[in-house]
Point group: C2
DNA sequence: ATATTATGTGTAACCGGTTACACACTGGAA
DNA sequence: TTCCAGTGTGTAACCGGTTACACATAATAT
């Protein structure tokens, strides 16, 4: 392995000069620069990031902390983060937290020892002291914030309004809203949006809390549909729940979308594969991840951040679980 | 930050003794051990992994190279790898290669500079020189091998035989096999399994190549079904293709499973959400990832590896796209 | 009693960089 | 002419560990 010393020797300068040249710090004469460039080229010198880390106390590692990569929402996020990180020369460390504060804390401490450059976090624990005291750049994704931490999320409330209106516009008169878990901030925003839209309509509705889990959702919807057969629209806070609803509906002999219309939230690929295809409020998950990564890197590199909150717009995708609009 | 020197001073011994104690290398008296333990405790000393890496030329980083975490097959794999890595004290770096040898090479080189401990790779490029010359422990996952690299995969051929027989046993007389891309080793093994099973039956069949992609599969199946309406069974080499087939079938007015039975391959969660639920040959993806991680860590830690090939058994999951067995 | 071997410890070099500091030189300002 | 700021460079300390080596002592073999 060739080291900075080899380069210095070959270029006929000191290691300090080589280092200054490589880091573009301090003065280096044109002459020296040329000699160093040549030596680097000739020796195929590549800087050792570990050695550098040791004295700069910095690295180009980014920690991506998310509950569970297995949850269909996160892979795309991870992909976006990794793509952006790569173009800026950063490396992504994957951390599945299972929403467990202990695990999160553990990751943070372990990685801080490696001089990690920053974290992108999807967690409810963001106000926990290990974040506040982390003393490392952080960006919060999807979930809420400690006021000081930049946050990227979908425009959940707006999306919920769009989704609700989509059902209203298509003639639903009795809507079931599948509300997500109360600990989840996005779920609350969606709930708010739904309430706002439905209340200004004066139509009948009901709200049932329902985890973002297929089988549970199916069961819950099956029950509710039996209790109240007049339900003609379901707005689920997640696509997985919507899929559960769709299954429950078809098992209950409801025709979708003729008897019952369904709208999901998320826009995961699976929605397209269902029959009929799932109408949904799609998040631009990739974009969220990409923005989060960029904002984090800006922080890391001490560039000015223009905003503290980034809301990524959401898009209504019409497929087969809703009817065509009544004019 | 407390360093090994602080510990040495407080314990009244030299740094060498502290280091020897911490690494359990060389001789350390009981007395010294006690003093060091106490000092570590009192100062809350934690070893700096970067400094250690610098001279040992080792780290506890594991690179996970896969085509695209967004592909539903991989998150579970990643999860398993990360889980196992965590319990052994390793950290996982996520690398999306897009099956691009240049990107793979890049990751390998970048990470080798960080003294990465080893790689888990899902790639077709495994014989490329940058793997052969990588000079780092590697485990191949799902895809094939350079002879020398330990490999973990599903029992694809056996699985294909099971899937085919499931259709045969349920009375299919004209089966369409959706073969996966020819570059993919698992796809070839599945093809082999299908051929073996079907040929010993003397029944009619046809094989169509079809990417692991929903919309493409749907289109291909729609066309084939139109050309040959007597097809009464489809065995798809992936669940995504099976989903496409299911959609095409229902759009073509075929009743599943009455007129047409479908079996997929993979066992992704989405299969359950379809209507009817997808019968499929399920891989134990988590297990594959976990085994790969364990085998890699064994290699890293110079423990003996008992095998070179690990075949993880596959399981037939019967759901609604197949009929009950004719006795 | 002497030669080995095993045990225990500290000093200092080293891993491969960065950077504080000292020093030299140049050119313009006073 | 003198002073100072700006430019350019090298020496050596330092980041926080590991480890080769030298040395001392205790235990065992001969």
């Amino acid at each position: 392995m060739t080291t900075i010393k080899d380069v210095a020797k070959k270029a006929g300068v000191s290691v300090a000069t080589v280092s200054r040249f490589l880091n573009d710090s301090g003065y280096v004469s044109a002459e020296a620069a040329k000699a160093v460039t040549a030596a680097v080229e000739e020796l195929k010198y590549e800087l050792n990031p570990v050695a550098r880390s040791l004295n700069t106390k910095k690295s180009n590692l980014i920690g991506l902390i998310l509950p569970d990569i297995t949850n269909p929402f996160f892979p795309e996020l991870a992909r976006a983060v990794e793509d952006v990180a790569l173009t800026y020369g950063y490396t992504v460390v994957l951390c599945n937290s299972d929403e467990n504060p202990e695990k999160e804390k553990n990751y943070i401490e372990t990685l801080k020892k490696k001089y990690i450059a920053g974290f992108i976090v999807t967690s409810n624990q963001l106000d926990a002291p290990h974040y506040a005291n982390a003393n490392v750049p952080i960006v919060a994704l999807d979930r809420t914030i400690n006021e000081k931490i930049p946050t990227v999320s979908s425009n959940n409330k707006e999306g919920a309004i769009m989704g609700t209106n989509a059902l209203l516009k298509r003639g639903c008169r009795n809507i079931l809203f599948l509300r997500g878990p109360e600990e989840l901030n996005p779920a609350n925003d969606r709930y708010e949006g739904f309430m706002e839209a439905i209340q200004s309509s004066n139509l009948q509705y009901q709200v049932v809390t329902c985890p973002f889990h297929f089988a549970d959702s199916q069961e819950i919807v099956a029950r509710v549909l039996k209790e109240d057969p007049t339900i003609d629209g379901i707005f689920a806070s997640s696509d997985v729940s919507a899929a559960g609803a769709l299954k429950a509906a078809s098992l209950a002999g409801k025709r979708v979308p003729e008897d019952l219309q369904i709208v999901g939230f998320d826009g995961v690929a699976m929605g397209e594969m269902l029959s009929p295809g799932l109408t949904t409020v799609a998040q631009d998950v990739y974009k969220m991840g990409a923005i989060a990564a960029r904002v984090l890197i800006k922080q890391i590199e001490n560039k000015k951040i223009d905003q503290r909150f980034y809301e990524v717009p959401v898009k209504l995708i019409i497929r087969g679980t809703t009817r065509s609009v009544e004019e």
